[in-house]
Symmetry: C2
Subunit: 222 residues, 2 copies
């Protein structure tokens, strides 16, 4: 019974996601859904990313959290318009659903936006199940989380188009088997690009930024 | 509509949790529900904890993961009986529900158990909503996740009886504001004990083990 109920919720969400996708296509906006565990470094990665692509790529951000506007406060210093969604009024939702994204997106000037980034709720499970009408999905996996997360949370890594393997600056201080981590990712999603980055030092950002730029240019024809 | 549905699922779960609680009381088993983000160090913390309390405290473990038996394999080296639950057949559930715990608990020899540890699915949101009939709940929060997680995931920190602040061995390598982290925890749950530990080096384990021992002794009258 529980599974049937979940199916219905997901069906309603898919319909809303298709509406979003149509809206984003009309407006020529590339939408990137960014997911991870709590504290993997989504916000810091996005701040450093925005600094490299703005103002060339006109960017806006929707940030999802159960509570607080910490991430939105930090991101708004980039100069990009930022909308914070708090899911607490929706029952402390553990993910962003398509209807919530629609409401937030309509509060932005989509005609003046090339790239809309959605920083999802920190959760390696549920957000992967909810289509929000995005063009691409990425997962930020941080080194301190350990090597085997792709094997333990396969849906997330299967559904994403790239992994940002973050906090590589901590590698000298951890017993971390980088080859094992890459092997786990490849087992779940063989051809997925993996960008090894440190959001703190900005090491390894060039290939990631180039990959992102290509996707945006392809959709928006800038 | 979605909220009503969730309410129903939670009501069914509560009834099952009460049945579990009755069973655990009859058998004189203390049940500890251990929760955290993915990769915060639950398994390593439990391995080091079991080494300190066994065989004096007769322990068993139920481990929840969507996929794999990695954690169970590691934990079983402690000599404790370990049951791995994979939630993938249940739709990749992001938490352990009471009926799943009942099934796993009945496969253990509860008469020969003082302490039953439940290592929940790595997720800082959903597991906090599901009573499994436990006596106590703790959350493992790792230093690399950042200071503000208690503010962003308040239900988890409100519902737990203690925080294990893990990976303190990484403090010298991070820009981490320990006072800020403690302040965030106190804002959500003013009198909650916070044990600063490193599961890797076992620094800070004594007070945590003493706290746990006291709780177990109080319930089981060992």
């Amino acid at each position: 019974m529980e599974i049937k109920v979940v199916r219905k919720v997901l069906d309603v969400n898919s319909t809303m996601a298709e509406q979003n996708r149509k809206l984003f296509a009309e407006k020529g906006v590339f939408v990137l859904n960014v997911m991870s565990s709590p504290g993997a470094g989504k916000t810091e990665t996005l701040i450093k990313t925005l600094a490299r692509i703005m103002p060339d790529i006109k960017s806006a951000v929707i940030v999802g959290d159960i509570c607080t506007s910490h991430d939105a406060d930090r991101l708004s210093q980039s100069g990009a318009p930022v909308v914070q969604i708090n899911t607490e009024p929706f029952g402390g939702d553990c993910h962003l659903a398509a209807h919530v994204i629609e409401k937030a997106a309509l509060s932005l000037d989509l005609d003046a936006t090339d790239l809309l980034i959605v920083e999802n709720v920190g959760n390696l499970v549920c957000p992967a199940e909810f289509d929000i009408g995005e063009d691409s999905r990425i997962v930020v996996l941080s080194i301190p989380e350990g090597e085997d997360k792709p094997a333990k949370y396969p849906l997330m890594f299967r559904e994403c188009d790239a992994t940002l393997l973050n906090k590589t600056d901590l590698l000298p201080h951890l017993d971390y088997d980088l080859e094992a981590a890459l092997k786990y990712i490849r087992q779940v999603h063989p051809d997925m690009p993996v960008f090894q980055i440190s959001a703190r030092t900005e090491q390894g950002f060039e290939p990631w930024i180039e990959w992102l730029r290509n996707l945006i240019d392809k959709k928006t024809g800038r």
